[in-house]
Amino acid sequence: MSGIIDVVSAVLILSGAIFILISSIGLIKMPDIYMRMSATTKATTLGVGSILLGTALYFEEVGIITRAIIIIIFLFLTAPIGAHLIGRAAYFDGIPLWDKSIINELEGSFNPIEHVLYSEKFGSDEKVTLPREQTENNSD
């Protein structure tokens, strides 16, 4: 029985390391910061999660399994939040998209002068000339 658990945890650790290597290759080869984040966040979370699961299976103690599950849940909760925050900051900072990107959903709905993100596109004149006090109150 312990032989089967050994094999399973070895396979989990190896696959996790390979996922981490894939994500680092994606970090180098992708042309754009947004694609880089989409390549790295998911693959690294999966890789580290499987490595921790293999460690928990190898030790077979309650304390180790609890710690591994806590780290896995924390990573799965915080990795998308961090990626979303950095992507939002990069878009607002004016990092350009890849020139072969097809769709830009936020195009036209973010005002780069006042730094306000509208829920609709402000094409008409009345939405561009919002009163300054109102936008400043909203942003803070």
Partner: protein, 90 residues
């Protein structure tokens, strides 16, 4: 050698090489956001390294370091994102 030891001796160099590749992105990265993404990735990879190292050294308490590093990485990413958004506003 058991299967787990063979897997460790293969996976530790793989993790180290991928961390070196991430350090290359930190050094080269064209914008500050690229560097923040790469640093967050390095901190996440260090957790996996610690989990593998816990098997080698046969010490179970080292996984607490992983919890602390996960929390610190998320805190640093949030602070950097807040700072970058504020910097672009002014």
């Amino acid at each position: 050698m058991s299967f787990v030891e063979i897997a460790i001796f293969i996976s530790l160099p793989i993790i180290t090489v991928s961390m070196l590749i991430m350090v290359y992105r930190v050094a080269v990265g064209p914008s500050l956001e690229d560097r923040v993404v790469a640093l967050d990735l390095i901190a996440t990879t260090v957790i996996g390294f610690i989990a593998v190292y816990a098997i080698i050294s046969n010490s179970t308490t080292i996984l607490d370091v992983g919890i602390i590093i996960a929390m610190l990485a998320f805190l640093g990413t949030t602070a950097f994102a807040y700072y970058l958004e504020r910097r672009s506003k002014s």
